[in-house]
Subunit: 355 residues, 2 copies
């Protein structure tokens, strides 16, 4: 109940050993006599001793802490990554400090500096659209960095992500196979390199099918609401696509709202394929077809590469790309044009056109 926290010095003196011996007990380095060890442990327990990791880190020049930079706490994919990374870190007696950039490059930079001030041993970052300032900062400091999820075509740092282009290419092929010809790909931004890769995969598949003219890419904005507002006109318009492929879960949420607003039925009027899968997609109707990112494997590689960087700081940067499988559920079906008369389509057309 002391005001000042108890120090290792007090523990040592109560145990009747020297400070160095007590330290050795807590860091079980060199052998300590079993008897002394027990007395130190008892003293620590009695005093409620909690090692001061600030002092230890200062002295040791290593904190056994890694920083994790995430754009958004409310995005389920990031949270899955966080969860797996935390498991890995704790299993090796590392701590992780999470900071959030809120998709803001300036804030990202500032938060990374805070991490640097805490002297983290390494950094895993899911960057914002423009993290050039942050990246420059990181190059200056000699700690291992791994770029996760939002990777660039050619990162300076090691990178780990899904194979976005292959996934959207496969997803597009799947929609084409269902009979769709008018496809729209909805994504928040192409300034994110992984988003750009998703668009590339979509466009490549459309091109291969000779449908480049029917391929639309919509970039309504970074938020759910912007997505809703931006997509609604095209859903309500006369040349509505028969299938929408969303490039992120933010886009999915926005598109679903726009579909509600437009009064369309999925998949009768419109098919929907989502990038990013999670629990709620499989519990309310219709179950959303989705591409699932292998978050556990992604986290595993990121951690492996980061810790390898602790041992050998100057190895060549590894770049991992993992396949992201498609899970077909209820929102993807043949397009309305291939069916008989469709009341829903007629309704939409009536609403869109003049009386």
């Amino acid at each position: 109940m002391s005001q000042r926290k108890t120090t290792i010095r007090e523990v040592a003196s109560r145990a009747g050993v020297s400070l160095g011996t007590a330290s050795n007990v807590f860091n079980d380095k060199t052998s300590v006599a079993a008897e002394s060890r027990q007395r130190v442990l008892d003293a620590a327990e009695a005093l409620g001793y909690r090692p001061n990791s600030l002092a230890a880190g200062l002295r040791r020049q290593r904190t056994r802490t890694i920083g994790l930079v995430v754009p958004d706490v409310l995005n389920i994919v990031f949270n899955e990554l966080v969860e797996h990374l935390e498991n890995l870190a704790l299993s090796q007696a590392y701590e992780v400090i999470i900071v959030t950039s809120r998709e803001d490059p300036e804030r990202e930079h500032e938060r990374v500096r805070a991490l640097l001030s805490r002297r983290v041993d390494g950094l895993i970052i899911i960057p914002t659209r423009d993290w050039s300032a942050t990246e420059r900062e990181m190059r200056h400091h000699r700690i291992p960095v791994v770029v996760l999820d939002r990777v660039a075509a050619k990162d300076h740092f090691p990178s780990v992500a899904s194979d976005n282009a292959a996934a959207t290419r496969a997803g597009t092929d799947y929609l084409l196979g269902l009979g769709h010809r008018d496809l729209a790909f909805v994504i928040n931004s192409t300034r994110l390199w992984n988003s750009a890769a998703r668009v590339d995969g979509f466009l490549a598949a459309m091109r291969d099918a000779g449908l480049q003219d029917r391929a639309r890419v919509l970039l309504p904005g970074m938020t759910e609401e912007e997505t809703r507002a931006g997509v609604l006109p095209v859903l309500a318009g006369p040349d509505r696509p028969t299938a929408i492929f969303t490039g992120s879960n933010v886009a999915t949420l926005g598109v679903l709202r726009a579909v509600q607003d437009a009064g369309l039925a999925i998949p009768q009027d419109l098919s929907l394929l989502a990038f990013d899968d999670f629990a709620w997609l499989t519990v309310l109707r219709p179950f959303v077809s989705a591409i699932r990112q292998p978050t556990e494997a992604l986290a595993g590689h990121a951690w492996r590469i980061l810790t390898a960087g602790f041992e050998a700081p100057d190895r060549a940067a590894e770049h991992i790309r993992l396949p992201a499988p498609l899970i077909a559920r209820e929102t993807t079906a043949a397009p309305p044009a291939m069916k008989a008369f469709s009341p829903a389509r007629r309704r939409a057309t009536e609403e869109a056109g003049p009386p």
Copy 2:
């Protein structure tokens, strides 16, 4: 590009001032000549100086860091709380370190000790079912603590939560007003005090309506899957309730899966009211009626009380309870018994009984 990070001493020497002056610049305490100040800032910039917060915290005996203990990173309610708390902390130049207990009392205790080792200035905790060990630890250390969300009837520490009993009472009254008489309340555990309060509110409303005999409380377990498995038999059974009130979003998810498995239609066969609201509930059909916790206000109070504790450590513990409004959407309707012949009900009965 130096191996060792640059220190304030190097900054001072490059700026041609003493260490103490440089320190004053970064902590803008006592007045420093504008000229000296600028030279220090320039030197810091040129050297890529990052203050060492370990050393600062060690010396200052305050880290301007608070710890936040959360049971689960994947729960949206906790994440909303985290987001708001982080906003508040950053706005006052505090940092927050998040740790997760994974609903495990032992892990919670261990994670809190890690926070203590980091010498956090205060702690906000959403506790596990049995956090007595953690609580004992916290009482021994003299830092402000605020219990959030999962509060007890009478906490030793200040506490902030929704008024759970009032919310479920109002929710139950709403279902009764719709004509329901057979209600089941599904929740993960009553060892959580706030969960117990939710059950109390439900039972009180049923008792006041003279329906205590028709009130069922189901406790299928802590996970979504346990909930599904535990609820399915009662949904498939002959005396299925006409409405289900879920006490947490984990329970909601599990019940929705069980409803799928049982082949029931909501709200035709069964009404559903959920505790905890979030984006996906309003985007896939049917839109789920829910009780929304005021997460921003909860976070605001928690932060206010915590920071008040920094100034006046020995004030009486405040206990805040905030109203959580009900948002009626599509999953709550009159019970099937009040309508004409209901095929869905008949089907369920047939499936349940012998041929």
